[in-house]
Symmetry: C2
Subunit: 391 residues, 2 copies
C-alpha cells in the first residue's frame, strides 16, 4: 500500500485517499465477475498476487491445478467496460472496498463485496444505519409499526436499510424516504424486484440509495436473497426484525447480523400470531425487545463512535505486487488434501494436522479447488468437496 | 418450640407436627383481627411475648403508650368463636402458619398471613404452583392463550394460582379446574368477587381451593386487591403475566413476585396493543418471555426442589413464653423517635443512628406506634408517621 504523504493520517484515511485507477477498477471488475470468485476468494487472490491484474493472469492455471475440467470463465476487458458503461448510463457508480465512498461498516465484514454498485444519493451511505426487515405477508399492525419505527429512527439521524421486499421492507423504506433509506438489491440495478416496487426504488434515490453487488442485467434467483441479506446487516449497526415466522428469510438476516457482530432487535407479538414466532424466539435468544425507537437508539448510540478507530483489512489495491504465491504446493500435497476432503465439512485446522502440509500450502490448494468450482466453504473455517454445478 | 420425639426429622417437619390447640387458634384469630395488627406486627408480637395470648394482654397498653387516643379493638373470645363457626359452616378451615397444611412457599414470605382460611381440596395447596394473572378486559387472543398455558402447566403437574377476576384470571382458573387451581380472594369466603364468578368459585373446590386471609363477611375494597396480590405471588414459584396495560394491577403482582424472589414471566404482544405494554416492559426489565408452557417449566423445575431444605421462620406457636418485652423504652426515647418521624418515610437505621437508642428500643417504640395506628411501614425498612384513619 502506498502511504499517503501525510504519515500522521490513520490507516483508513490513507487508504481512502487512494482511489482505484480506471484500469484497476476494470481489473477488479473482471476478477470479481470470474467463475468461482466470491468476495473472500477475491481478497485471498489480491493478497497473494499483490493485485487483481496479477490474480487474473494466475487464475486459469490455479483452476486447472485444482481440477477444473474446462477453462474458468474470466470476463474480458471489453466485457468489464460494457458493464461499467451500462452502469454509468443508469447513474450507477462502482465503489471499491477501501475507497472513501464505500460504506464504512460494510467494509468490515469478511465477505464485503470488492465493488459495490451504488445508485442514488451516496451521502446516505455515510449516515449511521439501522436495518428494518420483516415478513412479506405482514399484518396491518406490523406495517404500521414498521412505518412508525422507520420514521422515528430516521428523525433520530439513522438511514434505514432494508431489502425492498413487499410488506415490512417496503413500509420501512416508504416511511424513511425523506430522511434517507438504503435498499440492498438481490439482482442488478436494472432488475428491480419485486417489479411493483419500481416506483418506490426511484423514490429512494433522492435522499437514499440502492446498492447491489450483482452485475447489471442480473435477475435475482432465490439463492441470491440470503446472500444479499448479509449486505443489509453488514451496512447497519443493528438489525430490527419486525414480523417473522419461523424459518423465514428475516431470520437469516438476524443470524448474519450476529455473525457480523451487529446488534439484533426484535419486535414482540402475540404467541398466537405465527408472524411473531420468529421474533419472539429471537428475544428468547437474547435479542433486544423493541416497542419504540428509543429501545434501538439507546443500544446503538454508544456503538456508533466505535467504528472510527477501526482499521480496514483490505484497503484500495496495492500497486506493488507482493511476493508471488509461495510456497508452491507439490502434486502429492494436492492428492493428500483432496483425499482428506469429502462431502462432509472438515475443518481447515484438521486438514493441516492430518495432511502434514503447512497452513500456507493447504490454503493455496484450497484456493485452487475453489477456483475449479470443487470446494464449498462453510461457517467456522470448514470446507467440503462439492461438485461444479455446471458439470 | 417442642421438638418432635423423632429428633431426626427436619425442623419443618417437627414444626408441622405441632398443630395449634383449639385455644391457641382462637388466640391467634383474636390477635390477627385486632386493630392495627397485620401479619408482620403479629409475628413481632408473638416473638416478643412468646405467644398470642400474652400479646393480646399486652396489646392495649402498648397501643396506649404509642399514643392511641382510644382503646384498640381486640375481638373477644366469643367473636373469634363466631368466626370459626361461620367458617366451619361454609367448609372453611383456618390453617395456621407452621402447620402441615399451610402452603409451604407462602410460609416463607415476610408477611405471610398467620391464619389462612382455606376452602376446597387442601391437597391442591401441596402441589407446585404457578400463578397466571392478567388484564380483566383481556383480548380474545389473551384469553385463549391463558387457557392454553393453564391447561399445559396443569398437565405438567402445576396447580394454577390466580385472582378469580374477569378476563385472564377466570380463563386460567377455568382451564385448570380438572388439574387443580387456587383462587386467592380479596374478601371473605362468603363474599365472592366478582359475583358472576360464584359458579366458577364453586367449580374450583373439587380439585382446587379458595383461600383468603380476610374475615368471613368481609366485602373486598379497592385496597384489598393489591394486598391480596402478594398471596398470589407468594403461593407460586413463578408468576406469568398474560396481558397487562401500564400501571395495571397485574404489574403489582409482578413487583411483589420480584420482592418475594419469585420468577416473573411475561407474554409478549404487539407494541401497538395497549394490553401488551405492561408485559413487554416486564420483558425489557428481565422477565422471561413466554410463548408456551415449556418456557415456564424449564425455569421452574430446578427451583421446585430448593424449597424442601428451607427452614420456616415462624413455626407453630411456641408454648413457653420468651423473656418479656425487653428493654422497656423510657418516655424520653418515645419523644425522640416520634420527633424524628414525619410524613416522609425514614429508614429505621437512620432512626437508630439519630436517636441514639438501641435498635431493640426503636423496634419496641415503632411497634407501639404501629398498634396505636400511627405508623406506616414502607418497603426497604422505611417508616413514616401516619394518622389513624378512624380518628
Amino acid at each position: 500500500m502506498t502511504l499517503s504523504s501525510n504519515a500522521g493520517i490513520a490507516v483508513r484515511s490513507a487508504a481512502a485517499a487512494v482511489p482505484l485507477t480506471d484500469d484497476q477498477r476494470l481489473d477488479w471488475l473482471r476478477l470479481i465477475r470470474s467463475d468461482n470468485v466470491g468476495p473472500r476468494t477475491f481478497r485471498t487472490l489480491v493478497k497473494h498476487y499483490g493485485g487483481a491484474r496479477a490474480a487474473l493472469s494466475a487464475l486459469p492455471d490455479l483452476a486447472r491445478r485444482g481440477g477444473a475440467t474446462r477453462p474458468v470463465r474470466v470476463p474480458s476487458r471489453q466485457d468489464a467496460e460494457r458493464e461499467l458503461t451500462a452502469a454509468r448510463s443508469l447513474g450507477v457508480t462502482l465503489v471499491a472496498l477501501g475507497e472513501l465512498d464505500y460504506p464504512q461498516r460494510l467494509a468490515m465484514i469478511d465477505d464485503a463485496p470488492p465493488l459495490l454498485a451504488v445508485r442514488g444519493n451516496a451521502a446516505a451511505l455515510s449516515l449511521p444505519m439501522v436495518a428494518i426487515v420483516g415478513a412479506r405477508n405482514a399484518s396491518a399492525a406490523g406495517i404500521r409499526f414498521a412505518e412508525r419505527l422507520a420514521r422515528d429512527l430516521g428523525a433520530a439521524g439513522f438511514a434505514i436499510v432494508s431489502g425492498l421486499a413487499r410488506g415490512i421492507d417496503g413500509a420501512a423504506h416508504r416511511a424513511s424516504l425523506a430522511t434517507g433509506t438504503i435498499a440492498a438489491l438481490a439482482g442488478g440495478h436494472d432488475q428491480i424486484y419485486p417489479p411493483e416496487h419500481a416506483a418506490l426504488a426511484e423514490a429512494i434515490l433522492a435522499q437514499g440509495a440502492l446498492i447491489s453487488e450483482m452485475p447489471m442485467g442480473w435477475e435475482p434467483r432465490a439463492r441470491d436473497f440470503p446472500r444479499r441479506n448479509r449486505l443489509i446487516s453488514g451496512l447497519a449497526a443493528g438489525v430490527v426484525i419486525v414480523e417473522a415466522a419461523r424459518r423465514s428469510g428475516s431470520l437469516i438476516t438476524a443470524r448474519m447480523a450476529l455473525e457480523q457482530g451487529r446488534e439484533v432487535f426484535a419486535v414482540p407479538g402475540s404467541p398466537l400470531d405465527p408472524r411473531a414466532e420468529g421474533t419472539n424466539d429471537l428475544i428468547k435468544q437474547g435479542a433486544t425487545l423493541v416497542t419504540q425507537a428509543d429501545d434501538v437508539t439507546i443500544v446503538l448510540r454508544p456503538i456508533l463512535s466505535d467504528i472510527l478507530g477501526q482499521p480496514i483489512e483490505l484497503a484500495a489495491e496495492e500497486p506493488e505486487p507482493l511476493a508471488p504465491l509461495n510456497p508452491e504446493p507439490a502434486g502429492s500435497d494436492r492428492e493428500r488434501i483432496a483425499g482428506l476432503l469429502g462431502p462432509t465439512p472438515a475443518s481447515i485446522d484438521d486438514l493441516v494436522r492430518l495432511s502434514g502440509c503447512t497452513p500456507a500450502v493447504v490454503r493455496v490448494i484450497l484456493l485452487e479447488l475453489e477456483l475449479a468450482g470443487r470446494l464449498e466453504r462453510h461457517g467456522g473455517a470448514q470446507v467440503s468437496l462439492g461438485w461444479d454445478r455446471d458439470r
